[in-house]
């Protein structure tokens, strides 16, 4: 897991996607978006140049993130600190073996 940078209420965290076998596919995307919708903070997920609104499964799916992809999670809002771990847990669920 990358470093956690705190600036104001924005939290950034680099995450390596697991979710075998397809990576960030429909199931984790739906679960992630469901959780994000319950939060007060804005959730943005970046894959290089592409950014997705964490509350939209479609947006997340469009990041095309197979296992091993480095995503940057960006939470902006008052409950960002408590939201981070559960969101990361969804993206890193399952064993990812880079070999």
């Amino acid at each position: 897991m990358g470093a956690t940078a705190v600036g104001g209420t924005i939290i950034r965290r680099t995450v390596i996607v697991a979710n075998p076998p397809d990576g960030l596919h429909m199931r984790p995307a739906t679960a992630f978006a469901k959780l994000a919708r319950g939060l007060r903070c804005a959730v943005t997920v970046r894959n290089g140049e592409k950014a997705a609104d964490g509350r939209s499964p479609t947006d997340l799916l469009m990041l095309f993130a197979p296992p091993g992809t480095e995503l940057v999670l960006e939470l902006d809002g008052e409950d960002a600190d408590i939201a981070l771990d559960p969101l990361v847990a969804i993206l890193t669920a399952g064993e990812y073996d880079p070999a």
Binding site: D22, G23, H25, M26, R27, A29, T30, A33, K34, R37, D53, R55, S56, P57, T58, D59, L61, M62, F64, P66
Partner: protein
């Protein structure tokens, strides 16, 4: 705006709202709603989404109970899109911002997503997702339309039909007045779509390659059948240019029709040829007369059978034939071809054997009729009954052996006897002919000629069977060539057998509608052409430049050639010399 290039198979320009055919046959009726209906339209979307979500959850539960959570979760995943508030809000936004109908908004939004996915098609996830989104779109469109899925025939306003490929049964009941043009992703110059467009005299472009994901139902599209373009989402200047071109074209074709209509087809040295029209639907009889055809040389009767839940009754047949005879008039021939179903055409419960492995070499056409006598006799009775309304002639398709022809004729005699016994009027001397479209029939044409009053060479099937190449299969389409010397030799054999027996030999395939082939056909001794009505004025013009001795020399030359491309080049050069504008 996007311009796509395809194969131009039927000339003309059409501009209109798209009717996108997919396998589900869902169509979008209207693109927009009045401003005061926008909230109701958004509600309609929400209700459909909720219903789709419930349905997806139900499926998931059922599957999970039956097969365990693992399988059930596949549906949970699919259902996920219905819970995607952002996705739904995006669609709703289109309704509110543009007053789109709910269906159109769904289609537009998803087409946009699919396009992005196609751009990433090197990623396996993108390919899978594409399927999920297409499912999502279809599911919602189906719910929004209730059960009113509109198959092609029920079109209610003029449209441009876009499809991957049109199947014969989709097109058979098409309301031809409402379809302005056709464009398909696949198909070649001799595909069913091409033939249909030719028959309907509407512009068509085929073989465009994938474009259906870039267009939503009811989008405005342009089909340029002169140059083979399909234009999606045209910009204003393009639209204006094409509107002007279409206007000019209409004026011109009107003039052309009038000038060539009453001019007979006579060669420069005074030999009179007969020009007949090919038709599929009774309404096309009018086209024949408009284009100066001297009758109908091929009346395909398959439309009576296709897309019906039951076989046509004798009355159905009779009415159709009588309508054509009355339109054409008492003194002009109308050649009715008996049922020619099978192969790529769909037969309903007419005693067709189970799925055949090789339908083009299977139980089709006259073979099917000889196995299903009630079906065959029903048609023959109706044809004979209609014979009193004009100069009707009967033609049997796909005859491969002398035996088959004898059987057909003996069944015809039985039907005549039945009618006689019942005191039902018919013409006793209705001419009987056979198609020559199987190489075996061409080879024994001298024997067949003694049994019939006329031959008609069906070049489409003759080429396909001679070269063993399916004309709809792009992989072997280059083999399919009417100019192949093997085909020409068979035609020569048939023409000479006809002359020796003193019977008329007609050519009714696509070949007879191609101006470049006219000198060759005349040289082979063909004096009767039957073509798509639209082609007749062009053929007449070429014919007026020919002399029979020149054509005979040309035909002899072609028969000595070794390859199709040699023949094609030679014919094109010749036509270019005598009538430059007809050569291409």
């Amino acid at each position: 705006m996007e311009i796509r290039r395809g194969i131009a198979v039927s000339p003309g320009i059409a501009i209109g709202p798209a009717l996108v055919m997919d396998t589900e046959g869902v169509r979008i009726r209207t693109t927009s709603v009045p401003p005061d209906q926008v909230p109701a339209e958004a509600d309609r979307l929400r209700v459909a989404v909720a219903a789709a979500r419930v349905e997806a959850e139900r499926k998931q539960r059922v599957l999970a109970e039956k097969f365990g959570e693992e399988i059930g979760s596949i549906f949970e995943a699919k259902g996920g899109l219905y819970q995607d508030e952002h996705l739904i809000a995006g669609i709703e936004g289109l309704i509110r911002a543009n007053q789109f109908s709910a269906e159109y908004a769904v289609s537009r939004h998803i087409r946009g997503v699919v396009k992005r996915l196609d751009a990433a098609s090197h990623m396996p996830q993108a390919v899978r997702l594409r399927g999920d989104f297409i499912d999502f779109e279809r599911g919602l469109l189906a719910l929004l339309g209730g059960d009113q899925r509109t198959p092609l025939p029920a079109v209610a306003e003029p449209v441009v039909v876009l499809a991957n490929d049109l199947t014969p049964n989709e097109t058979a009941e098409l309301d031809t007045n409402l379809v302005h043009a056709l464009a398909t992703e696949s198909g070649g110059a001799t595909s069913h779509t091409a033939i249909l467009a030719g028959a309907l005299e509407i512009p068509a472009v085929v073989g465009v390659g994938p474009f259906l994901t870039d267009v939503s139902g009811a989008d405005v599209v342009i089909v340029d059948g002169n140059n083979g373009y399909l234009i999606l989402d045209p910009d204003e200047p393009t639209l204006a240019r094409y509107q002007e071109a279409r206007r000019l074209e209409r004026t011109k074709s009107g003039e052309h029709r009038v000038t060539s209509r009453n001019v007979p087809a006579v060669t420069r040295d005074g030999v009179r040829l007969t020009m007949l029209g090919n038709i599929e639907f009774p309404g096309e009889a009018r086209h024949c007369l408009d284009r100066g055809a001297e009758g109908v040389g091929l009346y395909r009767t398959e439309f009576l059978y296709i897309h019906k839940s039951e076989d046509p009754t004798e009355e159905d047949h009779f009415k159709a034939y009588r309508a054509v005879l009355e339109e054409i008039g008492p003194d002009k021939p109308v050649v009715v071809r008996t049922l020619d179903l099978g192969g790529d055409k769909f037969a309903n419960a007419t005693g067709r054997a189970a799925q055949e492995k090789n339908p083009f070499l299977g139980l089709r056409s006259v073979r099917l009729c000889l196995r299903n006598l009630p079906l065959f006799k029903t048609q023959l009775r109706a044809i004979l009954r209609a014979s009193i309304y004009g100069d009707l002639r009967i033609m049997f398709p796909m005859i491969a052996t002398v035996m088959e022809l004898r059987q057909c004729k003996s069944i015809l005699r039985e039907v005549q006897e039945d009618l006689e016994e019942s005191g039902i009027p018919f013409k006793p001397d209705v001419p009987v002919g056979t198609m020559i479209e199987v190489p075996s029939a061409a080879l024994v044409a001298d024997v067949l000629a003694k049994q019939v009053n006329f031959f008609s060479i069906g070049t489409n099937d003759l080429v396909q069977y001679t070269l063993a190449a399916d004309r709809n299969n792009e992989a072997v389409a280059d083999l399919y060539n009417a100019a192949d010397p093997a085909v020409l030799r068979l035609m020569d054999l048939v023409a000479r057998a006809g002359q020796a027996a003193g019977i008329e030999v007609n050519v009714c395939g696509e070949m007879s509608g191609e101006p470049v082939f006219a000198p060759l056909l005349v040289g082979l001794g063909i004096r009767q052409f039957s073509a798509t009505p639209r082609k007749i004025p062009d053929i007449k013009r070429v014919v007026s430049k020919l002399t029979v001795p020149d054509c005979e020399r040309l035909a002899a030359e072609c028969l000595r050639m070794e390859t199709a491309s040699e023949v094609t080049r030679y014919l094109r050069d010749y036509t270019r010399r005598i009538l430059p504008e007809a050569a291409d």
